[in-house]
């Protein structure tokens, strides 16, 4: 017999997911995509500024002298894998598997924390090599761009941990799956921004 309680629950979820709005789409999701579109503009401006100023090193070190490509490659890999664990958390939330959702959220947060830790280490190493915030136009634009990205990852981490706490205490307002999905969208966004930063800033020499 195919008509089980699980099927009923799934059908109920589908009705819950279908938003009763003029567009037929969830306003929360629409708002999130609009927000991510505007974030593209923010990072577009920061990346443009860096690309224009990266050759202006003054008396400070050049990008190739300070960048540690093997280290940053590992950081990039860690952030990329956190996107996989995040999408698995979203997938588990849609399947109403709270245990797996919690587990993947925690792993995503750990990977994100590793990335942020790596960035703090990298900034410290650069500073010790004589690349301060105001050393040159290159250093200022580099710190602003990667710093803004780091802040975004940190905000994502806070959101992940808060979500985990809310899931545990059953205090998620509205659809659980949609809430996890929205935080997932934000997390993947910081990953795609890093995909661009890693190529344009680290791999292409000034």
């Amino acid at each position: 017999m195919w008509f089980t309680l699980d099927n009923l629950a799934t059908a109920h979820d589908t009705h819950e997911d279908a938003a009763h709005t003029s567009t037929g789409l969830s306003n929360v999701k629409l708002g999130m995509w609009l927000f991510l579109g505007t974030e593209c503009l923010l990072f577009g401006g920061l990346i443009s500024t860096y690309m224009l100023y990266r050759g202006r090193v003054g008396t400070g070190p050049r990008p190739a002298q300070v960048f540690d490509i093997p280290f940053t490659s590992v950081s990039s890999f860690v952030l990329l894998m956190s996107s996989l664990t995040m999408v698995l958390a979203v997938s588990s939330a849609h399947k109403r598997d709270d245990k797996s959702t919690n587990l993947w959220l925690v792993i995503t947060a750990l990977l994100g924390a590793t990335f942020v830790g790596g960035q703090v280490y990298e900034f410290t190493a650069f500073y010790n090599e004589g690349m301060g915030f105001s050393t040159s136009l290159f250093s200022s634009s580099f710190y602003v761009l990667t710093g803004f990205h780091g802040v975004h990852v940190t905000v994502g981490l806070i959101m992940l941990l808060a979500l985990r706490g809310m899931l545990k205490n059953n205090k998620v307002p509205g659809s659980r799956a949609e809430t996890v999905e929205m935080i997932g969208l934000y997390w993947h966004f910081v990953d795609i921004v890093w995909i661009i930063i890693f190529t344009l800033i680290y791999l292409i020499p000034a």
């Binding site: 999701k29 577009g44 093997p70 996107s83 996989l84 995909i195 190529t199």
Partner: protein, 101 residues
Amino acid sequence: MTTTATDSHATEHGLSTAGYVRIALILAAITGLEVSTYYVDFGWLFMPALMIMMVIKFVMVVSYFMHLKFDNKLFSWLFYTGLILAVGVYCAALATFKFFG
């Protein structure tokens, strides 16, 4: 039957777990190739290869992990409009510095 229901629900929202892992492996392999350009001299192919790999990774994450491929087209329009405007900002800034810098 429960498994079938769960699978179809998963497909509604994107790929299966194995599908996501496959995408992640492809992304990891492309990242490895990107890093190899730092050590191996690719000649004139260096820049186009890096740009193409960056775009492939970007599109894969947006399409599969962010589900844009499976979602309503309006979301794609919202996001890609922002992205195109961002590229426009970059081109405008570059042109400004080129002519007036």
